[in-house]
């Protein structure tokens, strides 16, 4: 790992001041991707700005968000905290399900909501939840709709110096996350989150493309008929999908439909 200067500010303002005055800085949250990347010298920031002491990034509460009745989750909440939090288990169990499916116990103890979504790993679980649960991402000075947050491979609508403060997730009528888990890494080969809201069905897909996306054709079909047959009738093209040693693009497209059907079956049971 290359040398760097380490800072641990205790406020958003101080964190952004440090960022503005450093040569090639990066924010550090849980570090579950960043630190291994730095060890491999794939990342070499001049300054590491550790956000863990910024109190504004903590807390889990029920709020009226832009998309209605929601749970607001502070960016520093670790995955195990999200998975086990009473408010989330009671009102938004699907988010607990997603967080509990991430990586392994040590990663869930340390990795954070804000860090995961800011990283926009194509195989991360939480991005599917942002899309299917009509999320709103709060930064230090603006709100970004979950729908326009993920742009490409490891690329989001965040500017380099933006800090994710909290994310609102709308409480759906019913929802489930179905994941085809890579057995070694725990990442999603494909993950599909199907949610029924008062204003329609949402299908968030992760793992399949360069970044998470909404499967609009599936949403339309399921809005018309919430059945496995409706999923069968949709064509999911594999153009632009990820293809690697673990799964071809064609196989991933197939998995999108299989997992969507499993979700429908589960929600219909």
């Amino acid at each position: 790992m290359y040398a760097f200067d380490y800072h641990r500010p205790d406020s958003l303002t101080a964190a952004r001041d440090l960022f503005a005055n450093a040569e090639d800085p990066m924010y550090l949250s849980g570090g579950m991707t960043l630190i291994p990347s730095m060890k491999q010298r794939l990342a070499a920031p001049s300054d590491l700005i550790d956000l863990s002491a910024v109190a504004e990034l903590r807390g889990i509460e029920r709020v009226q968000g832009p998309a209605g009745d929601s749970i607001r989750v502070g960016a520093l909440s670790c995955h195990n905290e999200v998975a086990k939090h009473a408010l989330i288990q009671q009102h938004l169990p699907v988010l607990a399900q997603v967080a509990g499916a991430i990586g392994d116990n040590q990663v869930r103890n340390r990795g954070t909501l804000g860090g995961s979504v800011a990283n926009s790993d194509p195989a991360a679980d939480l991005p599917a939840a942002l899309l299917a649960l009509q999320a709103t991402v709060h930064t230090q000075d603006r709100q970004i709709s979950g729908d326009s947050f993920f742009l490409d491979l490891f690329e989001t609508a965040l500017a380099a110096d933006d800090i994710v403060v909290a994310i609102d997730f709308a409480i759906p009528r019913r929802a489930t996350y179905q994941k085809f888990r890579h057995p070694a890494s725990g990442y999603a080969v494909v993950g599909v989150l199907v949610a029924e809201h008062a204003n329609g069905i949402r299908v968030g897909v992760t793992g399949a493309g360069p970044c998470a996306f909404r499967a609009c054709a599936l949403e339309d079909a399921l809005s018309e008929s919430f059945t496995e047959a409706a999923v069968d009738g949709v064509d999911v093209p594999d153009a632009g999908f990820n293809s690697d040693v673990h799964a071809s693009a064609e196989y991933r497209a197939h998995l999108v439909k299989v997992l969507s059907k499993r979700a429908v079956a589960k929600l219909s049971a």
Binding site: R8, I35, P36, L51, S52, H85, Q106, G186
Partner: protein, 172 residues
């Protein structure tokens, strides 16, 4: 960088470069070589220690991130004369072959029990996903965690399932 942390109950005042990993601080600076480095790519879990009460891979944590924190390693939970109940269960169940993964397995297992995880074999297997045993001796490890967990729960000292009240813990 100067930092202060509590390791196995002892306050340590240290001065290390910012790019020092917690595992290297523990092993090289403090001589706590019970914490192992198996892969150094945060896959194997042999380096698992408790940071403020939670299992973390110390090869994926910077020493400076543990400023002000409480760190517990395998050396801090029991002694050869008085084994921790989880260590005792690993011995009783012969849950180790070469023993390299054992410290990480035990630290992980204690965290799972403290978090209120189920002690059913399938839950234990899921809970141990972050720890690899290359001797593949999982059968006895799962049995040991069930046994050690039951002893800890019977003691009552580590039985509280996690609730909203105790999830406010600071985890970066």
């Amino acid at each position: 960088m100067k930092l202060t942390m509590t390791v196995n109950g002892q306050v340590q005042d240290l001065d290390v470069p910012a790019n020092t990993l917690l595992v290297n601080l523990l092993r090289d600076k403090l001589g706590l070589t019970g914490t192992h480095v198996g892969c150094d790519t945060s896959q194997c879990g042999a380096c698992t220690v408790h940071l403020d009460g939670r299992a973390v891979k110390s090869c994926a944590v910077l020493a400076v991130q543990a400023q002000g924190a409480e760190v517990v390693t395998i050396e801090g939970i029991g002694s050869t004369d008085a084994l921790h109940p989880m260590q005792d269960a690993f011995r009783e169940c012969h849950a180790l072959q070469c023993g390299f993964c054992t410290p990480g397995m035990i630290m992980q297992a204690i965290d799972l029990v403290q978090q209120g995880s189920s002690l059913e074999p399938e839950s234990i297997r899921q809970g141990l996903e972050g720890n690899l045993c290359r001797c593949t001796g999982y059968q006895n490890i799962v049995a040991a965690v069930a046994k050690g967990g039951a002893v800890l729960r019977a003691d009552g000292s580590q039985s509280a399932p996690q609730t909203a009240a105790n999830t406010d813990r600071v985890e970066g």
